[in-house]
């Protein structure tokens, strides 16, 4: 048995302090974790379907989605702009198809790694005040609940690139669409004379 010396007493104190220090740090970490989890809960800002469009991600408000389907046959019409590839029939109704990649100018910025998203994968049929629109998109990345704490505060509509119809952008760069502004875009209206 080893006789306890003064240095041993000092060592014991060091150990106790270390233990205490570790306990305090652990407690503090737990407290911080609880505060952070309460902040992340936040209020629900939107429920969206996330779609990939030319390498970028967009959120479509779920309450405005009528259907999300594989891309159906699209009948082209003469002399339409590139972002209006034509019309499709969804359950017996004619719906105008909007190529979001071309409308937002994304298609010109494509790179090889984004090419996989370029091939249209799904059609999101949304309800607008004037009628339905079919939004042509790449992959369907699933549904998501966006909370207020996820919104990138520094981003505002006035700075959105190319004045895209975006309500807000999340911190992980998912741009949630403003469908009313999208439907009001004059570029979607065709009146040939």
């Amino acid at each position: 048995m080893t006789k306890k010396t003064d240095s041993d007493d000092s060592n014991d104190s060091d150990a106790a302090r270390e233990q205490k220090r570790e306990r305090v740090l652990r407690d503090r970490a737990e407290r911080l974790a609880r505060v952070e989890r309460r902040g992340e809960a936040g209020e629900v800002a939107a429920q969206v379907a996330v779609i990939a469009v030319g390498g970028e991600r967009f959120g479509v408000p779920a309450e405005r989605i009528r259907e999300l389907v594989d891309v159906p046959a699209i009948a082209g019409l003469p002399d339409l702009p590139g972002w209006l590839p034509g019309i499709a029939q969804i359950r017996g109704e004619l719906v105008s198809v909007v190529d979001l990649a071309r409308l937002f100018g994304i298609v010109e910025e494509k790179s090889a790694e984004k090419a996989a998203d370029e091939a249209p994968g799904c059609l999101v049929v949304v309800e607008c005040a004037a009628g339905p629109l079919g939004l042509l998109a790449g992959r369907n990345l699933g549904f998501r609940v966006v909370r207020s704490t996820e919104i990138a505060e520094g981003f505002s509509q006035s700075t959105s690139r190319d004045e895209r119809p975006v309500r807000f952008v999340t911190r992980d760069l998912c741009a949630v669409l403003d469908l009313d502004r999208l439907a009001a875009d004059e570029r979607l209206v065709v009146h040939q004379v």
């Binding site: 003469p78 029939q89 004619l94 065709v190």
Partner: protein
Amino acid sequence: MTQRREKLLAIFRDELTENLDQMAQRLETLRAGGGAEADSRGETVDAAFRIAHNIKGASRIVGMLPISELAHAMEEVLSPLRGIGAKGANGETLSPPDLDRLFEAVTLMGRLGAGEDLAAAAAELTAALTKSTPPPAPAQPAAESAAVSSPDVAAAPEGSVRVEIGRLDRLMAATGELLATQARQAARLTALVRLAGDLRVAGKQLPPAPRPRFVQLSRALDSFLREEGQERRRFGYLTDEIGTAMKRVRMLPLSGLAAQWRSIVRDVAERLGKEVHLTVEVGNIELDKHILDGLRDPLMHILRNAVAHGIEAPAGRRAAGKPGAGTIVVRASMRGSMVQVEVGDDGRGLDPAAIAVAAGRRRVATSEQLARMDETEVCDLLFAPGFSTAEAVTEISGRGVGLDVARQRLRELGGHVAIRARGALGGATVELTLPVSLVSTRGLLVRVGPAIFALPVEFVERTLRAGAGEVQRVDGVAAIPQTDGEPLPVRWLATLMGVPREPDPGKLTVVVLARGAARLGLVVGEVLGEEELVTKKLPWNLKRVKGIHGAVILGDGRLAVVVDPLQAFDATRSAAGSAAETVLVAAATARPRVMVVDDSLTSRALERSILEAAGYEVVVMVDGRQAWEALRQERVDLVVADVQMPEMDGLELTRRIRAESASQHLPVILVTSLGSDADLAAGANAGADAYIVKGRFDQRELLEAVKRLV
């Protein structure tokens, strides 16, 4: 204004329009009555009175007092004649000036209902109507007076129900869906029957054991499909009946517009100091309400034009040996599922030369285009927007005012309008053609590349096949000479619709369109057949796409875009496109070149025919030496060679091909009757890419090998 009030006013306006149409019909009957029996005239007057009463009540509810007062004044004019007729035994009468004022009241009420501020004019007419009220009939014995109906009449004409037009629209849309669904189901049943047939044929390949059971099931399936076919046919009859009934529900007589026509002709003539008689010969023709509503303004415009710019002043007419009063005739007739309305006058007609000069000056058409146009096409330029301006109006004596808008309105209804310089009466004639109903029309389905289009059959005269080599350039446009007349100008539907053109086959399929005397051939890929089509309007954001009426959903769910054939005629006159269009021949280098080497004439002929039918270009050689000499000078993409040949056999040929750097990669297929393992090994050692034994020769094997190696 509250939403409720807006809705109420909308209902009132719809009801007013219907009432005024019915009133106009009754007044027309009275005007044309002549020697009609008093009884029938009495019924007509009664009906007119009830309508006036309805209008009075409804307009009071929505606070449109000028209309209410006018309606009351009409009641006062008609009341003494109820149960008696327009000319009663006691001297009561509805004179022509009375009738004119009643017609005028109908027109004025329509304008007031549309929101025009004409209170003063309404008050004036009300006063005039009140002054013209016939003196009351002498007191009748009680028995006779009892025959006069109470003024408290039913809200709606007898035997009819008033239905909100929105409900009818929804019912019509549902009917359209029903017809389309029925067509899709019929198509699916046809496909199912075909499948059952394929299954029956495939069943013959079965081994003997399961065959009896298969035959039993196959027969049961055939029986089921026969019964299903009968059910579908019954369903088809029912849906056809519903479709026909729905078409009729919304139909209103064209004659209902006659009052407005008379009014506009009278008003414009009076203002300009002219005298014009209007004759209406439209019989009992009925049109869908939507189409009738769309026809109102264009017809009014055409009539206004005819009076203002067609009919000369009385003095000028007499100097020209014509009666001082001009004549305008509105005549309607049925052409299949379309109605044709003609507005002709005996005025000065059109001057195509003046129109052409004005068109050139206003750059509506180039001098080249004008040189190619006949008189009808020149007159058609009046519909161009360039003739709507005040300056243009002055240049051509105003005849073109606003006609572009009229044509546009008619196009939106699926119709068209044309104008002739001199019609049957000597003056200009405007011809309007419109569908009778919106529920469904017949269309010709055609394929252009992967896309399907529908052409309304009313404009399709016939289809024909023409050799690509027959297409020539006539006056700068592609045309096919015809033995019985003018060359047929042709346009490719792919170009008009913006679909990428494919190389044309040797024989072209041409759909010949007709518009009056004009003809145009549309080159298509394939004619798929004629069908009853329920055309759906384009989605909300595609307000107008030139040349497109809408789209139909086919039985298999695909869309066929409904084309406006008249757009093709218009596009043909434009310089762009037609000058460059011609037969598109596939590029010569696109076909791979195959050399067939065999000393057997039969083998050479067989292999050549197989390969050429598959689209390859073929050169033949009779032995290996000839082939080798040719290969050193010609380019080929693949060699198919026999093994046993004089001079140089196929193995030696293959070795030499592999030995030369220029040809070492040239694919070689040996086709031979030598089928032993040693022979196959010899072929492989010589460097052949494939070895086909003639005894087991199957053309598919050869073609697959060629396709794989080329």
